[in-house]
Symmetry: C2
Subunit: 138 residues, 2 copies
Amino acid sequence: MSQAILVEETLRSMGKLCIEHDPDVFRSVLDRIGDKWSLLVIGILEAGPRRFTELLRATPGVSRKMLTTTLRALERDGLITRTIYPEVPPRVEYAMTELGRTLSGPVLVLATWTADNQEAILANRDGFDAGLQPESPA
Amino acid sequence: MSQAILVEETLRSMGKLCIEHDPDVFRSVLDRIGDKWSLLVIGILEAGPRRFTELLRATPGVSRKMLTTTLRALERDGLITRTIYPEVPPRVEYAMTELGRTLSGPVLVLATWTADNQEAILANRDGFDAGLQPESPA
DNA sequence: CAGCATCCGCTATGATACTG
DNA sequence: CAGTATCATAGCGGATGCTG
């Protein structure tokens, strides 16, 4: 029962977390992991360091430019490192930082929720969309 | 120790979750909670049902249009409900669904992580930005 | 009160080509 | 190999005004 109260109490604090606690910073973090490629990159780097081209191939659809942009943003936030090896074909390796690894837990929780509920969400979307234009077929 | 192995095992699965498990659906959910206003709205509705104008006032900076768009998207995914009361000033109430409430947990985990680590992230950004243009002042 | 319609600028994303 | 530079585009987000 104290468990239930704890959860209740914690959830009640979400309003404070979301609103009073600087929504901009909050969103900037969500923007980072919520953009088109970051989460994929994090998912890949979670398994170990990777080179630029490896990431390029492992992330279907991404362009060089967007991969660069994504990696820079993650590096800027201290979530990954970028290590240049001065060799004669250049080699650059990206790897998760400690901070990045601590993010994996929360992201995984969200990923699991998404996997568990994507059917329900998709069904809701279909239902919602179906109830909108039942007049055009005539 | 089996705990550590379990975590390890779980994290290893993130790659699969992120990549093999339909990245588009994944991103569409992240887009939903990652856009500019959804998380704020969810945070507010977590505390109980609210009317349109209440949400408008409780979400500083949002326009009517974006609030409407946000609410529709959340409704479409089945995360909130929209109830119209046919009264003579119209009244519309938004409330979390069961599905929406199950999302609160994962979001809270992420929110807590953000709150706990925003200082580190901000510091990393400052450091990164400082190390980029040390040649222009000259 | 609770929207919808319209216009409009900005940024994110992407295609393509070039460089150290 | 690992990027950068340039150009083009689409959609988000916002300002404003109208409606049931």
